[in-house]
Symmetry: C2
Subunit: 312 residues, 2 copies
């Protein structure tokens, strides 16, 4: 066994999907209907297949280990997004910490003293009460449908590059708890989240949370800085000791940063023929390595690519 | 917002499913048909709901950070399991390392010099060629079916506590690439894996790998030691520098350890009424926190509980 090649090929499956994959997918030449793989499709993309970021709806969370870029989802959670914008503008998150990493579930951050009324960091001018934003009207939503069966919801697809599920019978749609999605922790009352305490999905999609808690956005970059942290203890992943926590140096909107300091990322558009081609390439695997074609793709396996803006 | 409670409740969702959850699920008292939650069901389990480990089919991988316990799946991959047993008995894995951690995909370990014929560690008496073991006959398999729609396969369920998918039309069944499942890396030829290089799923289930590569078992304990490692670089998660690697001190079968050093774990049986009740509790969430009942469970969200053997 040539381990290098072996490793390469086991690796390839994810990489072909990600942007900046140096290892291009090999297009099978001996199989019928050879098509481009995901990496080739991305390599051949046009500038109009990508979009930039809205600086008013994108957060830069600075850790000692690097930057985490989070895109908010104001179409799905307008009031939470607005509150998080206020919290970021007033530097609420600066100096807070990652408090919890529960394996195969979530990484969560916020104020370690939030439960202590005297020591809790004030929310400033941010709202202390925000309505639950679990779903929105399906009608009028620019949903790019994914035809593949989901199990959790009758319809799935993509809106603004975010994974979405929907129920046409009820006329409702909602963000789905896929890997990298960011949500707002809440108490028993459905409307008890404010956006001051956030979590990100780091394991198998806990889709049972869908429609039960407000998702507010998606990590575009730096996910590995949140998913690769040491797990907390048996108390649901909460760190036992303060020194285990990861400090959050700052969290700011890109709009509040000097233009030169704003990461120039681009997100692949999900309302294009290229996105459909990418989904097809991911569904029907024609790379030489595959002996069985899955012929299926799940919403949460179809992560929307992000790249650094190419030099002009 | 009472953050402590908030955190508690967001936490609860996973915890109620895991063994040893201190925070018991609250049974709703105001909703119709109150039923026991998963944590209560496990707390009320009988000794016969659990089974011990086969020392000849369980590996203890010793890292500096702790122990990883891996249960092999000889029913599905008899020849890979036998080869891995041989490799472990001859201490092939001792001194190897975690070479790769690709975010939302796999952690992979093996011989860093495997590609170098002169420096590669010899496989000893282990087979240099092992047939692909991608699927087995469905007929006769003690499959506990999961009725919920999957998308990737017409049938899913559990055998010996492992997640399994099946196609009755073809009469075949196979292990599914869920979080924590361990596989044997291979090259382009389907029969190019030997079990000397292994990976474990650390993200959203890459079910597109099913039927394409041999799965050999499941991590029963210590998963967080493999999933919580720093991610490798853009080269598909391979570490750029040897010092980034995590050393594997040793990997032995429990059978080759003194009895006192064998971890006394138990796995919940998946051929029992209790397992059905647990699946139901996970599918229909009646805890107070939930405002929407998912009414669905996916194979890869239904991790089979593992516990320390209770004191007699």
């Amino acid at each position: 066994m040539h381990a290098k090649t072996t490793r390469f090929l086991v690796a390839l499956l994810c990489c072909a999907w990600s942007v900046g994959a140096q290892a291009a997918t090999k297009t099978a030449t001996t199989k019928p209907e050879p098509k481009l793989g995901a990496a080739e499709l991305i390599a051949q993309s046009k500038p109009q297949d990508w979009r930039g970021l809205d600086p008013e709806n994108t957060l830069l969370m600075q850790l000692d280990s690097g930057q985490v870029i989070i895109e908010l989802a104001p179409r799905f959670a307008p009031q939470h997004s607005a509150n998080i914008r206020t919290l970021a503008k007033e530097r609420y998150f600066d100096g807070l910490a990652v408090l919890r990493v529960q394996d195969n579930f979530v990484t969560q951050w916020g104020d370690p003293d939030a439960e202590n009324a005297e020591r809790a960091k004030p929310l400033g001018t941010a709202a202390k009460h925000v309505p639950a934003e679990f779903d929105v009207a399906l009608k009028g939503l620019p949903l790019t449908r994914l035809p593949d069966a989901d199990g959790w919801a009758p319809v799935t697809g993509f809106v603004d590059g975010m994974p979405v599920a929907a129920d046409p019978r009820k006329g409702r749609a909602w963000l789905a708890h896929c890997y990298g999605m960011v949500g707002a922790g809440r108490n028993n009352p459905p409307d008890s989240s404010t956006g001051a305490e956030l979590y990100v999905v780091i394991g198998q999609a806990p889709r049972g949370l869908d429609l039960n808690i407000t998702l507010v956005g998606r990590v575009l970059k730096g996910m590995e800085l949140l998913s690769g942290l040491p797990r907390g203890g048996p108390n649901m992943g909460f760190y036992d000791k303060p020194e285990q926590r990861t400090a959050i140096r700052s969290t700011q909107l890109l709009a509040d940063l000097p233009e030169a300091e704003r990461p120039a990322l681009q997100v692949l558009r999900t309302d294009t023929p290229l996105w459909q081609q990418l989904l097809a390439a991911r569904r029907d695997r024609r790379e030489e390595w595959f002996v069985h074609n899955p012929g299926h793709i799940n919403l949460c396996n179809a992560t929307v690519p992000v790249r650094n803006q190419p030099a002009p």
